[in-house]
């Protein structure tokens, strides 16, 4: 029964995983002081378009109804819990890997000043939470015509 499912079957994916961790540690893009958590769950990407701020939270296996999303004083808070799923029932179980996060989580994203906290939309698909925050009208780029 030993080694019947070789995790180390491929050496290079394991190296890639290490590289991934190192990349996370030595990330070169500047980040907000509130976004220093490494390997936190869920992973969060934040982007800005001329009209909106887009926040993506990679939260696979989370019940979207149990997600709490709040905006307060320019901080967007995503909180929830991912329960540990028993992968299978039965006796004589042996666990070979338990890498997936389980438990309560809370991630905070500081929104840019031009974000409008009154206009926030969220949807959840394929384990990705996608939050769209509109920008204030006054901050949108506009063209000034010269008469």
């Amino acid at each position: 029964m030993n080694g019947s499912f070789g995790l180390a079957g491929d050496f290079f994916p394991e190296l890639a995983r290490l590289q991934q961790h190192l990349d996370e540690i030595f990330q070169t893009t500047p980040t907000s002081i509130r976004a220093l958590a490494r390997g936190a769950f869920p992973a969060v990407n934040v982007g800005s378009s001329p009209e909106t701020i887009e926040v993506l939270a990679f939260a696979p296996g989370v019940d979207p109804k149990a997600l709490q999303i709040t905006v307060d004083k320019g901080l967007l808070v995503i909180a929830g819990e991912r329960k540990h799923e028993a992968p299978a029932q039965g006796e004589n179980q042996s666990v070979y890997a338990k890498e997936r996060f389980s438990g309560a989580f809370r991630r905070v994203v500081s929104l840019p000043d031009d974000a409008d906290p009154m206009k926030v939309g969220a949807r959840f698909q394929d384990g990705v939470l996608h939050i769209t925050v509109a920008k204030r009208e006054s901050s949108k780029p506009r063209q000034i015509t010269v008469n």
């Binding site: 991934q20 907000s32 800005s48 696979p60 296996g61 989370v62 299978a88 994203v109 394929d126 990705v128």
Partner: protein, 130 residues
């Protein structure tokens, strides 16, 4: 069952399209019991159509790319996942039966069950007293 077949493509080597150089290793839970092995893998943003599960010889590979619709002209302010392409390969041993792998995908979590071949399951041998 039909659903799971749509996700599991067995025995199709090299069916993946352009494979990016770097891939994220999805986090997995792997548990074995008497009947087989259950594997859960986090693949957020990967839809059923973009997920590939393939068995090539002893190797089981799961891969898929996440796709999220975002507006154009998006400037990334902060990113923890840069290239959302997931891939991981496992080695299967002889007593597992790759022809009967079941796979399902829900909310970005891939759940697979790899049964053991009947003859490989542990059984109790009765001792006759006589």
């Amino acid at each position: 069952m039909n659903e799971s077949n749509a996700v599991a493509k067995t025995g199709q080597a090299g069916s993946s399209p352009s494979v990016p150089q770097s891939a994220l290793t999805p986090a997995v839970d792997i548990v074995e019991n008497d009947v087989g092995i259950t594997l859960l893998a986090d693949m957020p943003g990967v839809s059923r159509e973009r997920l590939v599960v393939k068995v090539d010889g002893d190797n089981l590979t799961i891969e898929g790319s996440a796709e999220v619709k975002v507006p154009e002209k998006l400037e990334l302010l902060h990113s923890e996942i840069r290239n959302p392409y997931f891939r991981r390969t496992f080695t299967l041993s002889r007593e597992l039966d790759p022809s009967r792998i079941e796979a399902s995908l829900k909310d970005g979590v891939l759940r697979m069950h790899i049964p053991k071949a009947e003859e490989a399951r542990p059984r109790r041998i009765e001792v006759n007293v006589g």
